[in-house]
Symmetry: C2
Subunit: 361 residues, 2 copies
């Protein structure tokens, strides 16, 4: 079972070796080396990569666990995102879900299915990005699996610890609570709109699409400050607040004047309008890479309200809570409307706007 | 975000609705309903399917975690395995890894990527099989994710509890230990060989390929009895004992007269020889579905030594251990050979035999 590192019939060239030529066990060794390089100090992994399963401390006596998929052509394109970007994003999606429960990320496992002609370098760089994002969140990559597939398909499972606090679910929002967010909104969606039009600036928006930066520490912080409900903004702000409203049986009213519109978003919108007059992107291209906007929603407010994938956190807090620095109020929780209708209002009105991304559509 | 259950432009027919027509949130609801129907009693899930992440008890203060991939065309074929079979197998692969650490399975998360034209019924039956196998192992399905892909790609992450015992890794085998197995060997490989030749009997071998039945309770049992090393037999007995030998720095000697050859295996081999004389299966077909045999290995001993996917457990125990009922001795652990060579011997000799399955080959 020694890895075959010399492809048959041609000279071995390290730079372009594929994972098919390297084989399963060689690939695992290469990926594990990149992941182990970023293991957090402190001996928090009892059994790591290389056995049947990993063993980790769960000091709280409970464990938070979540799995997220990342599929080439649906969630990323190799021509728009480098392998490190994809690694960062794969980790961020799952770690943000741990934070959204009020948990501190501890570990990540990754299932990596890819075509045999994928360069080994891609898998190594992906592993480095995955481990770097885990390190940013305080987690270690402790295990995984590899298999052959026609498109790169990644499943990242994150584990976390609640540090003695109750989990913050989607179901605890109460009328009178304030609604607040931590992290950026709309930047990833704007970045994707720019990429789909071949635009290379503003750089911070492209970076936000390629490597979202969830504010992991804001999750446990919100739990400490008594957050009544919390969610990771991945489908779009309105869609995700809709999940909170539905689970909690309330109405949520977002005040647009409280939403932070960055200069970068304004610049991007100006470019989009100009570009749209010229050559609009084919909708399939945008959709296939995970675009969440409604047609005509290429405005700062459209991106902020319906763009997902920034992995900001949204939470509700009891009225009068002095919010910690990362959190800013964007609305309030109301009792359900007539006929006990739950949902999300924008400036007090129901809004006819496509609410977010849904797969298989 | 209400699921659209009526496809556009044609009459709604429940029997042939696809997951693309149902949409992401509708699909999740349908799958979750099938999974929740099999939740173990006793309130062991603190937060289950439907929030950002699940929360589970980890009473031991540690948690066992493992991820396994199952890819259509590589690990299963839809014409050879029904959706319930695939659900059972996806769960079994991961739960067996937990048992192989000496852990008791507690929970499973599943990432489900599939083409939009997949019938909803397939996803529902898969979910039912997954949950049924989890229930057999004592675990609950607590979360997951769905996405669109060109082939069905499944990643199952299992969690488990060590109940206060140290984890049993691959690295603890010592010279003098006995080697033992629990569960069946070679049945899955023989079943696959039969399927690839269009054969429908012996039924127990076909069933073993479609729905492996790992002896989950034998894992914690082995740990209780002081097992020094343990592994899940998924690549093939020789290959997996090779992993133990390498991690432990020992030689392992398997005594073929101790290996259990069932009547079903003998029957299957007789048929294979007859069939091989007629029309051998194209090797790509067998390989693409996970065949682990070397050419000419269609014998009971070949299947037992090199066939994977039964998810039997193999372990080493200190000499003189009175083994519990599920375990039977098949060999012994020797010091490393001349030049500190580790590896696996069969009846005292190194054997020129392809050792097991490796991906990307």
């Amino acid at each position: 079972m020694t890895p075959r590192v010399t492809p048959r019939g041609r000279r071995f060239v390290e730079a372009d070796i594929t994972i098919g030529e390297l084989g399963e066990f060689g690939l695992i060794a290469r990926m594990a080396a990149r992941m182990a390089a970023r293991l957090p100090r402190g001996g928090r992994v009892i059994v790591g990569i290389g056995d049947d399963a990993a063993v980790l401390p769960a000091p709280d006596g409970r464990v938070v666990a979540t799995t997220d998929l990342l599929v080439e052509g649906r969630h990323f394109r190799r021509d728009w995102s480098g392998p490190r970007d994809v690694g960062h994003k794969a980790a961020a999606r799952s770690l943000a879900d741990v934070a959204a429960m009020g948990g501190v990320p501890t570990a990540l496992l990754v299932a990596f299915a890819a075509p045999p002609d994928l360069p080994v370098r891609w898998a190594e760089e992906f592993s480095a990005g995955l481990a770097a994002e885990c390190a940013r969140g305080g987690a270690a990559v402790v295990g995984g699996d590899v298999a052959q597939a026609t498109a790169i398909t990644l499943a990242a499972t994150a584990l976390g610890d609640l540090q003695g606090r109750p989990p913050v679910t989607r179901a605890g929002a109460r009328p009178g609570d304030v609604v607040a967010v931590a992290g950026t909104l709309g930047h990833s969606a704007a970045g994707l709109a720019l990429l789909s039009r071949g635009r290379n600036a503003p750089a911070e928006l492209l970076a936000a699409h390629r490597r979202p930066m969830p504010p992991y520490d804001a999750g446990p912080q919100a739990a400490l400050y008594g957050a009544t409900a919390m969610i990771d903004v991945s489908d779009g702000l309105l869609a995700d607040l809709g999940h909170v409203a539905e689970a909690s049986g309330v109405l949520i009213d977002v005040a647009t004047h409280l939403l932070p519109v960055s200069r970068a978003l304004t610049e991007a919108a100006e470019f989009s309008i100009t570009a749209a007059a010229g050559s609009p992107p084919p909708p399939e291209v945008a959709r296939s890479a995970g675009d969440a906007q409604a047609p005509g929603a290429d405005t700062p407010l459209g991106w902020i309200l319906t763009g997902g994938e920034d992995h900001a956190l949204a939470a509700t807090f009891p009225p009068g809570t002095g919010l910690p620095g990362r959190w800013s109020v964007i609305g309030r929780v109301l009792p359900p409307g007539a006929g006990h209708r739950t949902g999300v209002l924008v400036d007090g009105k129901r809004r006819a706007m496509r609410g977010g991304w849904e797969h298989f559509r």
